[in-house]
Point group: C2
Chain length 428, copies 2
C-alpha cells in the first residue's frame, strides 16, 4: 500500500474547496433564518468584539511589529493600527449594521397576469461572497457582518499584514455566532497568507463562490479582472471631476472644490480634475487656486489655466488620466457645459462627477448627460460614500455597470427570485 502525501498545492486546493462547501452550507442555513436571527447574531458579534478587545489589540501588536520590520510606510502602518478606540469603533460599526433594515424578503414588485397567475419579485441573498482586501483590519468585521445582514456567507481573504488582527476579529465573531446557535461558517477567513489562495477564490471554488468583491489597489484589481471566473463587483478608479460653471456661486465654488480635493485626498471620491468655464475662469480661478494652495495642494494646469494663474505646473495628457489620491489637482479651462461634458466623456472613470452652478437647466443637463455612477449638483464629490448615502455601511463603491453601481451596501448584496402563485394554470 502506498500512502501519497499531498503536495502543498493539493492541500491548499482541498482546504479552499472545503471552505467553499462549508460556505455554501452556511449560506443555505442562513436562508432558513429570519431577520431577527440575523440581527441577534450581529448584536452578539458587536458585543463579542468589545469583549475580545484585549486579544484583538495583542494580535494587532504582532501585525504592527512585523509591519515595522518589513518597513511599511507610515500611511500603511496607520491603516493597520488598532487601539481601544478603533476596536470600539469597529464594534459600533457592527451595531449600526445590526440596526439596518433587513434587506431580504422585500417584495420588489408584484403583479397579476390575465390568466390569474400572481407574480412577486422577492429579494434574496447573492449566496457566497468572496472578499479580497488589503491591510485595514476593520474590513474583516465590516465585510463579514454586512454579508451576514444580507444573508450571504462570506469568505474573507485579508492582506498578509493584518492576518493576526483579522484572525482575532474572526475568532470573536465565531464565538458570538456559535453562542447564538448561528452558522459560524457564515464568516470564514482564509487561514493562509499564500497568494495562491486568491487564485482559488477567483476560480470560484467549484461553483461555490457566487461573486468576488475586491477591495484594494490597482494590482489586485488587475489580477481579479484577469483571473476571475466568477462575477466581480469591483472598484476601478475614482477619477472624479468637478465642473465650475459660468453660473456658479463664487463662494460655493471655492468651498466645494477645496472640500472635494482636500478633505481627504486618499479616498476614491476625492477630486482629481477641476474643470472651469472660460466665462468665469478669469474671475473665479485665482481665488480657488489660492485657497487650494493655502490648503497644501499642488496645482497642474492647462495653458489657459496657467495664463490666469501663472505659478502652476503644466498639466499633460497623463494628468487628465491620473487618479492622484494625493494633494495634487489637475485644472483645465473649458468652454461651457459642452466643453466640460467632452472632457468628462473622454477622461472620467465613471465614478463620481459634480457640477457647481446656480443655473438649474445647466445642472439638469449635466446630471442627465454625465454617465457616472454618482453625479452631483452643488455638492462635494467626497459624498461618494455609503454612509453619506444613508446605507449605513458599504463594502465598496462599484464602478462596473452591472448589478450595482456606486456604494455597495446590504441592499446591493441581494438579488431576487420570482415567486409565482397559481391555481392550476397550464401554458396553452
Amino acid at each position: 500500500m502506498t500512502v501519497q502525501t499531498p503536495s502543498p498545492d493539493t492541500a491548499l486546493a482541498e482546504t479552499m474547496l472545503d471552505m467553499g462547501a462549508r460556505a455554501r452550507a452556511a449560506s443555505r442555513a442562513l436562508g432558513r433564518l429570519g431577520p431577527d436571527d440575523r440581527t441577534r447574531g450581529l448584536k452578539a458579534i458587536a458585543a463579542a468584539i468589545r469583549t475580545a478587545a484585549p486579544a484583538i489589540l495583542e494580535a494587532n501588536k504582532q501585525d504592527m511589529d512585523a509591519a515595522r520590520k518589513k518597513g511599511l510606510s507610515d500611511a500603511m502602518l496607520d491603516r493597520l493600527a488598532l487601539d481601544a478606540a478603533r476596536v470600539d469603533g469597529i464594534a459600533s460599526g457592527v451595531d449600526a449594521i445590526a440596526g439596518l433594515p433587513d434587506p431580504l424578503g422585500r417584495e420588489l414588485a408584484r403583479w397579476q397576469q390575465p390568466n390569474g397567475l400572481d407574480f412577486a419579485r422577492v429579494a434574496v441573498p447573492l449566496g457566497v461572497i468572496g472578499i479580497i482586501y488589503e491591510s485595514r483590519p476593520n474590513v474583516t468585521a465590516d465585510a463579514g457582518t454586512l454579508c451576514l445582514r444580507s444573508g450571504n456567507a462570506a469568505i474573507l481573504r485579508c492582506g498578509s499584514e493584518s492576518t493576526h488582527s483579522s484572525h482575532a476579529l474572526v475568532d470573536a465573531m465565531h464565538a458570538a455566532l456559535e453562542a447564538e446557535g448561528l452558522p459560524a461558517d457564515a464568516i470564514q477567513l482564509v487561514g493562509t497568507t499564500d497568494r495562491a489562495a486568491v487564485g482559488h477564490m477567483l476560480s470560484g471554488l467549484d461553483g461555490q463562490v457566487d461573486v468576488i468583491v475586491p477591495r484594494g489597489g490597482r494590482s489586485l484589481v488587475e489580477r481579479v479582472q484577469k483571473d476571475a471566473r466568477v462575477p466581480v463587483i469591483g472598484h476601478l478608479e475614482g477619477l472624479c471631476h468637478m465642473y465650475v460653471d459660468g453660473a456658479a456661486d463664487p463662494q460655493k465654488a471655492v468651498d466645494l472644490v477645496v472640500n472635494a480635493k482636500m478633505r481627504r485626498t486618499g479616498v476614491c471620491g476625492s477630486l482629481e480634475t477641476l474643470l472651469i468655464d472660460a466665462a468665469v475662469a478669469d474671475t473665479l480661478l485665482p481665488g480657488i487656486a489660492s485657497a487650494l494652495v493655502e490648503a497644501g495642494c499642488e496645482l497642474r494646469g492647462d495653458a489657459r489655466a496657467r495664463a490666469i494663474v501663472p505659478g502652476m505646473k503644466t498639466a499633460t495628457e497623463e494628468d487628465w488620466g491620473t487618479e492622484y489620491l494625493a494633494p495634487i489637482l489637475a485644472i483645465a479651462v473649458v468652454d461651457g457645459l459642452d466643453g466640460a461634458l467632452a472632457h468628462i466623456e473622454r477622461w472620467s472613470s465613471g465614478h463620481t462627477d459634480s457640477i457647481v452652478t446656480e443655473d438649474k437647466d445647466v445642472a439638469e443637463r449635466f446630471l442627465a448627460r454625465v454617465d457616472s455612477a454618482i453625479v452631483l449638483h452643488n455638492a462635494s464629490t467626497q459624498f461618494a460614500d455609503g454612509g453619506e448615502f444613508g446605507f449605513g455601511a458599504e463594502i465598496g463603491i462599484a464602478t462596473g455597470r452591472i448589478h450595482a453601481r456606486g456604494p455597495v451596501g446590504a441592499e446591493q448584496l441581494t438579488i431576487y427570485k420570482y415567486v409565482v402563485r397559481g391555481t392550476g394554470q397550464t401554458r396553452p
Copy 2:
C-alpha cells in the same frame, strides 16, 4: 518604404475594435435620445422588416440551401427557416417591443439626507451589449430591438447558418434607423463567420463591451464562461422540478405534470424531474404516468416509483442531473416536502421549480426554501418565459445570481446611476 499587409488576425482584431468603438459612440448617442425617439425607431424597424420581406426570404433561401448541403437536422432546419408568416411575426415582435414602457429614466428610489442632499436612483442603459447566438434568425431582430428599447448598443454575432438571413434583417434595421436620423451603429452585426470574432467579443473589445449575453447550447456557454473577460448575463441549464405534494389536487397534478413536460420538450422551462410524495404516490403516480406515456413520454423511475409503475426504465444518478430537452422524464418518490427540498437542493440548476399542493402552508414553505430564479405554486414550469411574465420580450432566462435572474427583458438590460442634488454641501 515597406508596406506591411496586415495578417487576417490583425485585420479581424482591428475590425472588431472598430465595431466596439462605433458601438460605444452609438450608445452615447442613444443616451441623448428621448423615449419617443426610441419608440419611433422601433416602429420604423418593424415597418422596414415587413417591406424587406422579399429580400429577407431570398437570403434565408441561401442559408437553407447551405444548411441542407451541410446535412443539418430537420429540427435545426426548422429553427432556421423563414416564410412570409414568420417574417411578419418578427416584425410584430418588434412592434410589441415598441409598445413596451421605456425602461430608462425611471426613478427607482428617492430620498433626502438630514444635510439636505437629495438622492435619486435613476435607470440608465448598461451600455454596449454583445450577444452571441445560434441559428434562429429572429434573435437578430429580437435582441437588437430589445437593446434599442433599453438604450443599449448591440453587437450581434449570429450562428454561421443564419448569416445571410441575419444580414438581410440588419440591413432593414439600418435602413430604418438611418431614415429616422438615429445611430445605425446601435445595432451592428459581426460580418464574418470566423469563430475568432467571438474571442474578440469575449475579451471586451478594449473596454467597449459592457456585458455579454450568450444564447446557445452548452458548448457556447462553456466557452463564454471560460474566456469572457467582461460580465456575462447567461443561461446555464433548465433542470426543472415539479413536486406533487401529499395535499395535491389529483387532476391538477396530472394536468400540470403533462403540460410542464410535454407542451414543448425543447425549451428550458420544460420539466425534467417529477418528485412525488410517498403519501400519495400509490394513488396518483399511476394516473400521471399513463397520461405521460399516452402523450409520448419515456419514464425513468427510482426503485420506489418502479414498484408502483412497473413498466418504467431505471433512473440512475445521471438522470437526476440531466436536462433532457426531450420527451423523457425522471421520477422519484420522496418523503414529503423535506424529501423534495433535499432532492431539489442537490440537483436543481436554480432555473425553475414548482410545487403542486392545496396546502398553502406547505406551498409557502416550498416557495421560500427553494432558491431558484423562478418558483411556482400550482402552475406549469413552462411559464418560465418573459412573455408569460408580461415582459413583452426577453433576451433569455438568466441563471446567474447577479444583476438579473429569470427572464431578461428591457428592464433587466438597465442599471442605475445616482443623481445627487445639493445646495453647496461640503462633507465635514
